[in-house]
Structures are given as C-alpha cells and as structure tokens.
Amino acid sequence: MRVLYALYHDPDSAQQAYDSLRANGATPGFNERQIAVLTSEPFDGYDFFQQDHKTVIPWIAALGGLVGGVSGFWFAAYTQAVYPIPTGGMPIVPFYADGIITYELTMLGAILATLISVLITARLPDWRRKFYDAEVSDGKILVGVIDAPDTSRAEVEKRLLEAGAAGVKEFLA
C-alpha cells in the first residue's frame, strides 16, 4: 500500500484538496474509496468527512434490545417456573415484577449490541501498523490518495500543494 498525502491546518483547505482530487480533467477523478482522510476531530458538514456516513447500528441496537428483552423475560419466567416459590396467592410468574428484569435486560441488550457493532464496523481494536501520521494529533487534517497510479503522481502532488499544503508525504507499507 502506498499513500501520497498532505496535511492541512484548516477544514476548508482540506475540502479544497478533497474536491480537487475528486475533480475530473487531466486525470485524477479519484473516487471516495481511493481518498484517505484522517482528522483529530469530527468535521460534520464537510464533504471530505462524509465517507462511510451511513450505518445500520441503530437497527442493530434495536435488535439487541429485542433479544435482551426476550431473553430477560425468559430468564426470569423460566427460573420461576422451574423453581416455583408459592407466595400467598401471588402468581408464580408475575408480569409486573418480571417487567423490570425484562426492561433492564432490553436496555443492556441494546447497549451491548451497540458496543459490539461499533467495534466491528469501526474496525477496532486493530494494533497492526496502519497508514497514519502523528501530526493529525496536532489538529492537522490529512488528505491523501491510496495507491495512486504512477502516471498521476505528479498531478496528485500538484493538487495537494495547490490546496495549501506545506508539502507532500508518502507512506509505504
């Protein structure tokens, strides 16, 4: 993997670089997947930050809640049915009381489903060496092209510099 990239101080310059790399005409025209963006904070509202915006996590959370709720009720009711404790005319499987266990485990199911789906879809944890530049932590915005063809290398560098970068860097892995 080879990434040609530049670092920008402000989101408008990063947006300019992104647009420039995507624009057709005298080659580039890279698609979203070919352009790498790394930031130290979210930049909602900028196009360069819109990659991978769509997610089904809310639905997974809802499903997790459903599974949690059903298993919570089953857990409480099954236990009460298998080890019945008669208490002065009270039902063996009391719906009000079991409703509380059902409610709590519904929420727990949603929470755990969110956790697991976020870790999987955000591809965390991943401690392998990946494309990164520690300057991002200083607030700079990284915009680059993944595996740009050699023929367009000069044009990529030109466009990155034109957007306001101090220099172009290369990452090889």
Binding site: P11, T55, M107
Partner: protein, 464 residues
Amino acid sequence: MSEKTIAQINDDLLRPVLRTTKRFWIAVLLLGSVVAAGVGAFLYQAWNGIGVWGIDRPVFWAFDITNFVFWIGISHAGTLISAILRIADAGWRRPVTRCAEVITLFALMIGGMFPIIHLGRPWLFFWMIPYPSERQIWPQFRSALAWDFFAIGTYLTGSFIFLVYPIIPDFALVRDKVTGWRKKLYTVLALGWRGTPRQWHRLETAMHIMAIVIIPVAVSVHTIVSWDFAMAPVPMWHSTIFGPYFVAGAIFSGIAGLIIAMAFLRKVLSLEDYLLPVHFDNLGKLLLTMCLIWVYFIFSERLTVWYGNESAEMAVFWTTQRGPFAPLFWTMVFCNFIIPFPLLAIKRFRSTITGVVIASWTVVIGMWLERYLIIVPSLSHKYLPYAYGTYRPTWVEVTILVASNAAMGLLYILFSKLVPIVAIWELKVGSHKPPLVRHQVSVVRTSPVGASTANGDGLLTTDL
C-alpha cells in the same frame, strides 16, 4: 471566550497526565491513608462480624444502606446529565461531560459495594448473581433486591461504555505525544484509533444511541432503589411518589457532587481556562431547579402523611419533626433549601464559583441526611410501639463512610492521571464553526488555489 491554539489545548489538558506534581502525591497519600483506614475497619468487621455495627432490632438497615442510596444518587450526576446535555446539544457541556461521566462510574462502584458490605458475609455476595446453582437455589426474581442487581449492573455497564467510547480518540492523542512505556500503554488503550471518518461516524452514532438509552436506565436505577423501600409495608416507605422523589433527589445530589468535583479539579489541575464561571453558573441553575423540585416532593410527601393521620405513619412523622430525629431533619431542610436557595437564586451569589460550591456542599450533606432520615426513623418506629428501637453508628460505620468519600477523591485523582479529564477532541469540535454553505469550497475548486484560509495559522477561538 478565550483564544487557544490546538497546541495550547493539547498542552494544557495533557499536562496533568504527563507531569506528576508533588501536590498529586500528597493528595494520593492523604486520601490513600483514609481509604486504608476504611479497608481496616471493613476487615475488622469481617473478622468480628456485624455485631461491631450499631444496628440492632428493629433497625437492620442503617449506615451501609444510607451510603448505598446516597452514592447511587451521586452517580446520577454524570451519565444522566451528560446524556441530556448531549441530546440537547448544549455547547457548554464540552468541558464538563467527562468530569461528570467519571463521577457516575466511581459512585456506582462505591455505592454498589455497600450492599455487599452490608451482607455481613460479603464473600458470599455471588449468591445474588443468577447462576445454575448446584444447591438449586436461585435468586428470588420477584424480590425488589434482585431488581437492584440488574438495574445497577446495566447502568454500570452502560456508564462505563458511555465514558470509554469518547476517551478512545484522546488515548490516541496521548499515544502520539508520549514515549517509552507510556507509548506502549496508550497504544494498547487507543485500540488502533486513527481518526478516519468511518471511526468518527461510528463513535458519534454510538454516543447518540447511548445517550438515548442511558437516560431511561438512569431513571430506572434510582426508581428501583426507591422501590427497595416502597415495596415494603413500613411506615412512610410505602409511597407511590417514592420513585420520582428518589430520582429528583438523586439528580439534586448528583449535580452538587459534580460541581464540587469540578471546582476541585479546576484548582488542583489548573483548569481555570476550561472550567469557566459560566459552567458553574449553568450547573447552578440546574441545581436551583432541582432544589425547588426537591422541596416540592418533600412537602408533598409530608403533607399527605400528615393529612392522612394514620397512627403508625404519624409516629415516624413526629419523630422527625419534633422528636429525636428533628435536629437532623431541620439540618437537612437548612442544607437542602434554606442555604442553597438564596445562594443559587440570587445571580450575584450564583455567578461566583464560591457561592455555587458552598451551596453544593450543603446539598451533599443535606442529601446524605435525607437518605439517613428515610431509613432509620421508619425502621425504628414500625407498627408496634413496644418494639420501637434506636440506632447509633459505631466508629466502624463512620470510618467506612468517611473512607468511601476519600475513595471517590482518590479514584478521581488517579483517573485524571491516566486520562485527560476534559475531552480534548470534543473541546476542539466546539472551537470550529461548521461550514456556512455545504460545498462552499467546491464552488471555487476550479479557480487557482494555494492560499490558506483565515484559520490557516491554527488559531482557534474556543467558544466555551
């Protein structure tokens, strides 16, 4: 409004993590000593049995359960407040949220410990956990005490995740700034975070979902704690308003706890540029609102009991109004209303950090007394006058109470040594304005470019 560059923000907020001052070690030593004393008292009790406590028939719940309810209440400061402010997108929340979320986690840990201590034989606490026992004894799921296990377990899990998600980008920031063993530690903790749009979007989605889910969980937790009492036919416990009354009290004491913690951190970690008077003023307004709601609930509860004039309830009522518990009751009213109300209602006092912090201290004391006054007077004056009892705490219970407060401070300080106590990336988000027009740069992309925009020098205007 203050101007800070990103580098300054990083430096200011990473300083407590990267540099260890003498003040830090003194605080750890002092608080650690008190915690050690508490551990000693606990071991003494474990060795000698619960006879070393002041409890006796008919008062079987006292300090430990008071502490349990109190700490669970304090836990409402964090995740609940943070979640509400996140959903409301209150910009001023940014420096506050992590301070608050940490309180929840530690308060739940400390609070959850007290029922275990209260068991008398704490090493058998796992009997509460539902597991296929070889003795075929299962927890009684209809018991209100089993509900606590699920409610607190869910809230603790949710609060932990709610706290940890937004810390991951800050762990990555620390990873990039340190060397040696710290680099290795934070590399592991950062989980390989790089800051791709995908990672940010997932984080934001998760925080939205968690904020929505955690609010009803937080409400349910203290409602269920209140039902530990309300499900029992004990005078002045068997009340339908106990759920909302406890939740309101929990948020009241929680906000007070948060204000005290913020003032403490502001001083000790030199965060004067980040935790501003406006934050204390805003939290002071919330505290004032809860103060009035608390008064409404306590009046409503007392009025209905007095008007009902049921003899067993009136026995408890009068013991708190003009009997042996009256000094504590009226101290509670002073601490929860008479002192904080003017301090918070009059802008001149509320706009000073000192005024809000004094009000918060009185509220914390008053709310601990409130929990005590819910439990002990009712248990000591149940239905049979010849079985009335009394209760006085022993040094063991007092030591454990004091140690639990010290444990909160100690855990807080140790946490701030490991993690930036103000969410750095969230603060940065608040410092840049979103684009006025989407594609605004796209419009000019064909024109010659090269000049950076106004923010090219990296200067931030932090809108705190």
